[in-house]
């Protein structure tokens, strides 16, 4: 059999009975002791007072030996209080002058309580066998000289009866208190239980999702009645269920704006609050109901907010994922928290998870100095903007990139998370370099054309006059040989000048449809034998359906010749030169590639190889105009020339020409 747990009612009953009983007992014990002591003290005081009074009044009577009057006096004293058992008076010789005993005076009492000299009273506790008595003795004195003594017998037994009667009264009062307290407790418990059950039912209703609960009874007093207010715009006006201090936006002049949290303290000082607010449970019920209403509104707002957040999240996720730049978030430890798809691709990862788990923010920097510099700036300023660095991919490839990062702090001000964008600018940088190169070459071309034009005419005159003078001089003469030397070097100069004019596209170009494969073939036929002799193999691979290009066949052959000769010079001993053509159908372009297995070009001189007169050969072994002339010819044909080179592995020159329409 299981015991039922006591409810609040049972607990209140038990509590009340226990408290009243305990309090009663706790009070009764010390009260009994104190009352007994006080009563005894009081009785003794009273006895002493009566004895003193009797002694004072009996002075003259004792002196006058008026025994009748003495007897009357002590009889009156004994009759005056039921606690007094006897009284008697002794003279200065200890003889009994008068007493209240019947059948003679008890001999023992005459000497049982002597008064010490100098004392004003003496109390002796006596046990007569029938009752307990305090014998109170007071001297009858005149001018300090004792002329007798008054003795009064105070019954302790009778005092004890009074004390017992008092204790019975206390006991009965405690019993009555318990009954009254239980009745009052029952009423109180019923009220409390009913209201607590209401709250319990309401909380269960809320747990089931129903926020339309009513826990407090309808209001009996309303603020607008008490304030004689008629402002219908006030939300509290006409409200029958909710207290005004729980409502937002009330218009009472004493009200503070805001919700309960802001205005609560002010409202509690308002006389309306003091007048209509109920007890703690009433307040709890009302606040519970107000809280439910507030919760309902908050949930509604939250739902609206959640939808807005979802829309916003989708929007920003779209922007994030759709960005052509790498967008990322990293925590303070430098670990990536999130990266978009562009970032995954840029860093050459297959999926986001492997990137987030294996790659850190510091890993993307090819140069550690770049990372340190950006990290310091982030710590000091909190952000970096468009800072260029060399990005390292998972595969070890490097890319030129711009990074912008900003860091957000938490409530303590410490950096919590950093978010940023990395833009791959490799292509743009290459383009810029090419544009720079083109611009430089164009400037050089203009300069060269001017110089060549100015120099070409004098050279023609020098050559013409030299040839005229040669006709007049006999062969073999010293003068003839000197003129021949002048002619030879003038021709060399003229060749250089013509090359410069070609670079500057100042030479006459006769454009026609050119079969690129055939042009290349003619060049290869010229050099193939010589190359084979020196151990350099030439491999040719043509695109059979290569469209023709519109251009000057001779100049194009000169371009191919220059590229092939450069390739040959790059091969120190033996090697291979691969020449191929290709048709880029999408761009409608014809591509000529010349690849060698030579020494390659150092990266630092790569941007300068198309500059006029730039050469790596010793002085006198080259003009440094080959590639610059080729560049000029290709640009004249609306094409482009590019180079990829890796030191030790060779170089690849690609000439792109638009196909003829």
């Amino acid at each position: 059999m299981t015991m039922m747990k006591p409810g609040i009612r049972g607990k209140i009953y038990c509590g009340i009975i226990a408290v009243v009983l305990l309090t009663g007992v706790l009070i009764a014990i010390p009260v009994r002791i104190m009352v007994e002591k006080a009563l005894l003290h009081e009785s003794l005081n009273k006895g002493v007072s009566m004895a003193l009074m009797l002694a004072a009044r009996s002075q003259d009577v004792v002196l006058g030996m008026d025994f009748l009057y003495l007897k009357e006096m002590i009889d009156r004293v004994v009759q005056s209080s039921r606690d007094i058992s006897y009284a008697f008076i002794l003279n200065q010789h200890g003889q009994v002058l008068s007493h209240t005993f019947h059948n003679g005076f008890p001999v023992a009492l005459r000497t049982v309580n002597p008064i010490a000299k100098g004392r004003t009273s003496s109390i002796q506790y006596l046990d007569t066998g029938k009752e307990l008595i305090y014998d109170i003795a007071v001297p009858i004195q005149i001018d300090g000289l004792p002329i007798g003594a008054v003795h009064i017998g105070l019954s302790k037994t009778k005092i004890n009866r009074t004390i017992h009667s008092l204790l019975w009264t206390i006991g009965v009062l405690i019993g009555c208190s318990i009954v009254i307290a239980c009745l009052a407790g029952a009423g109180f418990a019923n009220q409390v239980i009913r209201r607590v059950l209401n709250l319990h039912r309401a909380s269960e209703q809320i747990m089931k999702g129903d926020l339309n609960v009513v826990t407090a009874p309808a209001l009996k007093k309303h603020c607008w009645d008490l304030m004689r207010c008629s402002n219908e715009r006030c939300p509290a006006y006409g409200e029958l269920q909710q207290r005004c201090w729980y409502m937002e936006g009330t218009l009472c002049p004493t009200c503070k704006e805001g919700e309960y949290a802001e205005k609560g303290d002010v409202c509690k000082t308002c006389w309306i609050y003091r007048t209509v607010s109920g007890d703690e449970i009433q307040a709890l019920s009302e606040s519970f109901e107000a809280m439910t209403q507030s919760l309902k509104q908050t949930i509604s707002k939250l739902e609206d907010s959640r939808e807005a957040i979802e829309i916003s999240e989708k929007k920003y996720r779209r922007i994030f994922e759709g960005s052509m730049d790498m967008v990322f978030a990293a925590n303070i430890q430098g670990a990536f928290v999130d990266v978009n798809q562009t970032g995954i691709t840029m860093l050459e990862f297959s999926d986001k998870q492997s990137l987030l788990t294996s790659w850190r923010f510091s890993d993307i920097f090819s140069l550690p100095d770049d990372f340190v510099r950006i990290q310091q700036e982030l710590i000091s300023v909190g952000f970096v903007r468009d800072r260029e660095f060399i990005l390292k991919t998972r595969a070890g490839n490097e890319r030129q990139a711009l990074i912008s990062v900003s860091c957000q702090g938490n409530s303590d001000g410490a950096v919590a998370i950093c978010e940023g964008i990395i833009k791959d600018v490799t292509h743009r940088r290459n383009m810029e370099l090419q544009l720079l190169q083109a611009d430089k070459l164009a400037s050089l071309g203009q300069l060269s054309a001017g110089v060549a034009h100015e120099v070409n005419n004098p050279l023609g005159l020098i050559l013409g006059f030299t040839q005229l003078m040669l006709r007049e001089e006999p062969e073999g003469s010293q003068k003839f040989e000197d003129l021949k030397t002048i002619e030879k070097h003038t021709r060399n100069c003229k060749t250089v000048v013509e090359a410069l004019l070609n670079f500057a596209r100042k030479t006459e170009t006769r454009k026609a449809h050119v079969d690129v494969n055939s042009a290349i073939d003619q060049v290869v036929m010229v050099v193939a034998h010589q190359f084979e002799v020196s151990g350099v193999e030439i491999q040719v691979q043509y695109e059979p359906l290569l469209p023709r290009v519109l251009g000057d066949a001779e100049k194009l052959k000169q371009v191919v010749m220059n590229l092939v000769m450069n390739a040959r010079q790059a091969i120190l001993k033996t090697g291979r030169i691969a020449i191929s053509t290709e048709h880029d159908v999408r761009r409608r372009q014809v591509v000529i590639r010349v690849k060698d297995s030579g020494a390659g070009i150092a990266p630092q001189i790569l941007p300068r190889i198309f500059d006029p007169f730039f050469t790596t050969k010793p002085t006198g072994q080259g003009t440094g105009l080959g590639l610059s002339v080729s560049y000029g010819i290709v640009k004249e044909h609306n094409g482009d020339i590019q180079v990829l080179s890796e030191p030790g592995k060779g170089s690849l020159f690609s000439v792109v020409l638009p196909e003829a329409f």
Binding site: G104, F105, Y125
Partner: protein
């Protein structure tokens, strides 16, 4: 809660600790005896005319009685008559050997019982004679002279009082104001304290004028504000209190008592307290003839010595 319990325990222990109950002393009340006073008839009796309460009389004379016992070697017992009449009656009955009384009572006792004066006391004034006072309330504006006392309510100590009736009344007679000229004459109720009661009656407004012996106001000074009492007039000086002896008293005993009384001197340190308590300076010899002036005065006032 724990501290509350401790507090309660301490309070209980304190209450118990303060209890001063000792075990009671066993007494046997079964053994009884009748009340019995030891007979003292062999003692020389000494009575002080009860002009004051017994306790005042005792307080004033117990040292003197003790002194006389020591000086004479006789047992001397002070007795306390309740009234002047009882005093005189006891003298007449031979119950009083030595009487200390006022001259009025003495004259009567001498006339009736043959009492013989042998000494007089010299009071604080330095004179063996004294006088009476006629008093009224200080704020009684209707009494300024003796003439104003006509028709007023009067209270005196006793018909047998010298200072409290006879002497001040003689002052009225000197001004031709007779007893019947007062609207009311009352005497102080007894027994004892009669002089004081006169002052208190006037002080309370019960009577307009009172007759007392000089010095009484000082006696009540510690009970009332005596500034509220005004003395309207003083009488002439007449003989003061007198020691007298029973007619048939043993002369040898009487002589020893006389000697002892005359020996008292304020200059002797052992006697100073006795005399101070008794309210006189010394005791001087006297004789019956010195009280003739009183006898004459009683005759003038119309007092019959036989009544």
């Amino acid at each position: 809660m724990k501290y509350l319990l401790y507090l309660w325990m301490v309070a209980c222990m304190a209450c118990v600790g303060c209890s001063n109950d000792h075990p009671p002393q066993k007494v046997d009340l079964s053994k009884r005896e009748p009340a019995r006073i030891v007979d003292t008839d062999d003692a020389v009796t000494y009575a002080y005319l009860p002009q004051y309460s017994h306790s005042v009389s005792y307080e004033r004379h117990y040292l003197l009685v003790k002194y006389l016992e020591e000086e004479t070697g006789y047992r001397i017992r002070q007795i306390f008559p309740d009234t002047f009449d009882e005093h005189m009656r006891m003298v007449g009955q031979g119950k009083v050997d030595i009487s200390f009384s006022n001259p009025y009572v003495y004259v009567k006792m001498a006339h009736r019982y043959g009492e013989k004066a042998f000494a007089q006391v010299v009071e604080a004034s330095g004179d063996k004679n004294f006088r009476g006072e006629i008093i009224c309330r200080s704020d009684n504006t209707s009494i300024k002279t003796l003439e104003d006392c006509r028709g007023k309510r009067l209270i005196a100590v006793d018909m047998t009082s010298a200072g409290g009736y006879l002497y001040p009344m003689s002052k009225f007679y000197d001004h031709n104001i007779k007893r019947q000229d007062f609207s009311e004459i009352e005497f102080s109720p007894g027994p004892g304290g009669k002089q004081e009661k006169v002052v208190l009656a006037v002080y309370a407004g019960q009577f307009d004028i009172g007759l007392i012996r000089e010095g009484t106001l000082n006696v009540v000074a510690n009970r009332i504000d005596i500034s509220k009492i005004r003395v309207v007039a003083y009488s002439r000086y007449y003989p003061g209190w007198v020691y007298s002896a029973r007619k048939n008293m043993n002369p040898e005993i009487l002589q020893k008592i006389k000697d002892a009384l005359f020996k008292l001197s304020p200059d002797t340190s052992e006697h100073q307290m006795i005399l101070q308590k008794a309210h006189f300076l010394r005791v001087v010899p006297s004789s019956d003839a010195e009280f003739n002036s009183v006898r004459k005065l009683m005759d003038v006032v119309g007092i019959d010595l036989d009544k």
